[in-house]
Amino acid sequence: MAEPPLTRATLLARIRDGRDEEAWREFLHLYAPVVYGFARNRGLQDADAADLMQEVLRSVARNANKLEYDPKKGTFRGWLYTVTRNKVYNFLNSQRNRPKATGDADSNDRLESIPDRDDDTDDWELEYRRQLSTKAMERVRGEFQDSSWKAFWGTAVEGRSPSEVGSELKMSTGAVYVAKSRIISRLRDEVQKLEAEAENEAW
């Protein structure tokens, strides 16, 4: 992932400042659903996932002034992922009545001992991209006709067959494919743009 360290450091400064509520809100609305969604995917119940999300984000807030951005250690998103995954596994472990780890000093050691399942990273990325996609959809929705949008939604999102969706919308199968491809490619552009913005602005 490309790193523009200078701009990232600026936003880090904004959040560290603690008074920049707007920066915090942006941060919260992007990452809260990601953390929550990840926890749910790992099997946590609604209330537990919500608690965990609170804990993670509060700890980020509390420690914002201590956060130093070190490009060698990877992205902020990567860091948040590690923190979240750590908490999730801690939670799951405690659920299984295993001895609960205490203190933060050895959290890194414990981290190392957790097998990094491939699908963890994928899940995390999926949740993150899902947030960006939702935002992207809001942005591009107005650029397309209703019928095109329905064609896209029916096929790409709901996974129904293009011919079925087409006959419902009185569109040819070809037209459905075209509508879908146009919206998907537009969404991809927008997600990429948002991603760049989030990397540049949010950290």
Binding site: A50, R129, S133, G174, Y177, V178, S181, R182
Partner: protein, 766 residues
């Protein structure tokens, strides 16, 4: 051309499919390939691949959008707002209590939906009109009590705090205690709702006016007269509360309201500080909010009684006389130390004009030991009242040495960008306004109208009456347009209808093209075509003769503002998501351009000749966008302290005027974005409408105070001057907020409309 069948068409190559997915293929090829795609599975697959660029994660992501949104009852929502509150509310914020509303409607998702047009939601039985403030405890809403047909203020406990049992209980208990006391100088608490499942809220008297904090911010300091009057009334309010064992705990300028219509002082938020403290203490271990007006015993965390309120009132009066807090310091902790350990700077040093007796009174209030202070608010009230009897007869000039509000009647404040030649002109012809600049020649105001300025704070005179007005229409008026001859006036109403009015013969007719508030109306000069934009998301072009719709733009979501260009070929829309879109009536399907501002776009405008559009947002900024540029950044105008409600370009496009919730009007240089000048406190309440007359020198504003004012921009005081700007006309006959002002084409008359459901026509010049 030979008839083709699908399979005869050769498969398009990747490049062509890429163009197709980008919507950049020409229409013929597009149709051909679309036709081919119907039966070529290979190309179908390839197109899918190309569109997503083989990004599996992205495709997975799109599929996951089908997941239903989190249900309302999910613990996620409360958790998020709790985090938000704790992250953004734990800091020692010197002005945290008085932040103006941020992005309006953003954090109001706790409101129930409403079907009443013009309302943003419901809480309990109350229909909410708008957010009027946001503080540490939650949100204050202006709402309508339908059963009593009156407007009320509803204070809703922050969703984050309401989860905390202690905070919630205290909020309700304190409010219930406050509800038992009724006094002219206290904001009446009508009702407390805390038992239900929803968020607890307090229903209070809606006071139209401003806070002392605001007044101090604008005026710097107040006169001795005004300070004594405020002190006396605040003391009377406190006396009554204290008699019911109710301690305020947080007397500060932001909690002292001054009602516009009566100039009466009203104290608000009794005891609520305590609930807030509880909440924040349990959460963070320290108290939030400003300690500037705290009593020393309060700062030390000792017990608090009626005399603590008196100390705080002393601090407020000190600041009111001097323009600065009695115990100011760089950090809240230093403030706390100063107010426990140090004496305030003697008043006679800071403000020599303050009489000894008043200094004695304030010193007595600011005693460190409660035993040395006034023991009751009643005693203080008596003392102040006694002196008031003596000074109220005095001439204002004698006592009001410090009064910054008195208008000076000199002609100053020349707009900097003006050429020296024109400058001399406007100086030498002091009451020839805008001479030679306008299309319609010079303007002449009689010296009488010009030299008898009306100061809205003190005026009893409501100004000249309208020369024509409609009877009460079917709803509040939000937008006005007129034909060139002035015989057709169109007004957009909250109920989705448009009323046509002929002010000459008084006739009206009505059409109902929309399902929501008509935020914008425009007419062509001959009144043949009407353009409307509404909350229902539609922009319509209507033939007035046969009422046929000749053009319609369906916006993807509700529209909040709109404007038409001079050539009537293009229209801009602004919505609540911060998007500003430029549309062409040639292609009503897709916007020509999209600009992204943020917040709620309350107003948009086209420049007259330049390729610019401007937008005004609830995020306190206005932006000028260049439509000749593909996209990118506009010129951002920052300087308002609240949502910007209305904007207008001057006829030559050199100036953009903005009007805001913060009571101010700002004139901006459209090329540099620099502030030319500001009409500070142009109205006593938020300003909803602004318009330039064709000469470019005359500006009209309308506000929530129900008043319409007309300004000559050549005679405004210089920027940042203490001198108060004086309107050349003041019309105070509307009985509610005035939303819209519109000059007639010749600039000689002014049309206004607002919440009282009337359109009125005012004469400015024969």
């Amino acid at each position: 051309m030979a008839i083709q069948t699908r399979n005869q068409i050769r498969c398009p190559d990747d490049d062509e499919l890429r163009l197709l997915a980008r919507g950049k293929l020409n229409a013929d090829r597009h149709a051909t390939i679309e036709f081919h795609l119907c039966e070529c599975p290979d190309c179908q697959c390839r197109l899918d691949e190309i569109a997503s660029n083989g990004d599996q994660l992205f495709s997975g992501c799109i599929k996951s959008l089908n997941r239903p949104p989190l249900p309302k009852e999910s613990a996620y929502w409360t958790a998020v707002s709790a985090v938000e509150v704790s992250i953004t509310g734990t800091h020692f914020d010197s002005d945290g209590d008085t932040l103006p509303p941020k992005d309006n409607e953003r954090n109001l998702d706790f409101l129930e939906p409403t079907t009443t047009p013009g309302r943003i939601g419901k809480i309990g039985p109350f229909e909410v009109i708008e957010e009027v403030g946001r503080g540490g405890m939650g949100v204050v809403l202006r709402a309508v009590d339908a059963s009593l047909k009156r407007e009320v203020a509803v204070k809703v406990l922050d969703p984050g705090l309401s989860q905390q049992k202690v905070a919630r209980e205290r909020f309700c208990r304190e409010a219930q205690a406050a509800a038992k006391v009724s006094h002219d100088n206290l904001v009446a608490v009508y009702q407390v709702s805390g038992e239900t499942d929803g968020l607890p809220y307090i229903v209070m008297q809606l006071v139209k006016g401003e806070t002392l904090e605001n007044r101090l911010k604008n005026a710097g300091k107040l006169s001795i007269h005004e300070t004594v009057r405020i002190g006396m009334q605040a003391a009377a309010g406190l006396a009554s509360a204290h008699a019911h064992a109710l301690i305020h705990r947080d007397i500060k300028p932001a909690n002292i309201l001054i009602e516009s219509s009566t100039n009466k002082v009203k104290l608000t938020d009794f005891g609520l500080a305590r609930a807030e403290e509880d909440a924040k203490l349990t959460r963070t271990g320290f108290v939030a909010g400003t300690p500037l007006y705290m009593a020393p015993e309060q700062a030390r965390g000792e017990s608090v009684d009626a005399r603590s309120d008196l100390f705080s009132l002393g601090s407020v009066l000190y600041e009111s006389l001097t323009g600065r807090p009695a115990f100011d310091a760089k950090t809240p902790l230093m403030v706390l130390r100063r107010l426990t350990d140090e004496q305030h700077e003697p008043l006679h040093k800071v403000a020599p004009e303050v009489p000894d007796w008043l200094e004695d009174i304030i010193d007595k209030l600011l005693e460190k030991d409660p035993k040395d202070r006034y023991q009751t608010a009643e005693d203080l009230e008596k003392d102040l009242a006694q002196h008031w009897e003596c000074i109220k007869q005095d001439s204002q000039d004698k006592v009001e040495a410090a009064c910054p509000l008195r208008p000076t009647r000199t002609l100053r404040g020349i707009i900097r960008s003006r050429s020296p030649q024109k400058l001399i002109l406007s100086l030498s012809l002091s009451f020839l306004i805008g001479l030679g600049f306008g299309i319609f020649g010079s303007w002449f105001f009689t010296p009488k109208a010009f030299f008898e300025p009306k100061n809205s704070l003190t005026q009893n005179d409501r100004g000249p009456k309208a020369i024509a007005e409609t009877s009460r229409l079917t709803g509040p008026v939000w937008s006005i347009a007129s034909s060139k001859d002035g015989r057709t006036v169109a007004a957009g109403l909250e109920d989705g209808s448009v009323v046509f009015w002929n002010p000459v013969d008084g006739t009206t007719s009505k059409i109902s093209p929309h399902d929501g508030t008509v935020w914008s109306v425009s007419l062509d000069p001959e009144a043949k075509t009407l353009f409307t934009a509404s909350d229902d998301g539609k922009i319509k072009k209507i033939n007035i003769t046969n009422e046929g719709i000749t053009g319609e733009i369906q916006h993807d979501r509700s529209i909040r503002s709109s404007a038409l260009n001079t050539e009537m070929t293009k229209v801009i829309s602004g919505d609540r998501m911060g998007f500003v879109k430029v549309w062409d009536f040639q292609n009503t399907k897709e916007p020509k351009q999209i600009f992204e501002h943020k917040g709620v776009i309350n107003a948009v405008a086209f420049a007259n000749n330049k390729p610019w559009v401007a937008s005004a947002s609830s995020n306190k900024t206005a932006v000028i966008w260049n439509t000749e540029k593909e996209a990118g950044d506009g010129l951002i105008l920052r300087g308002h302290d609240g949502p910007v409600y209305s904007i207008a370009f001057s006829p030559d496009d050199t100036i953009l005027a903005t009007a805001s919730w913060d009571h101010n009007v700002i004139l901006w240089n459209t090329t540099t974005g620099a502030r030319i000048t500001r009409i500070k406190d142009a109205h006593d309440e938020g300003i909803w409408g602004i318009d330039f007359a064709c000469c470019g020198k005359i500006l009209a504003t309308a506000g929530q105070d129900g008043i319409v004012k007309v300004w000559n921009i050549d005679t405004l005081p210089p920027d940042n001057s203490d001198e108060k700007a004086v309107p050349i006309f003041t019309f105070s006959w509307h009985s509610g907020t005035v939303h819209s002002v519109h000059f007639t084409a010749d600039g000689k008359q002014l049309l206004t409309g607002g919440r009282d459901g009337t359109i009125r026509l005012w004469k400015l010049k024969d």
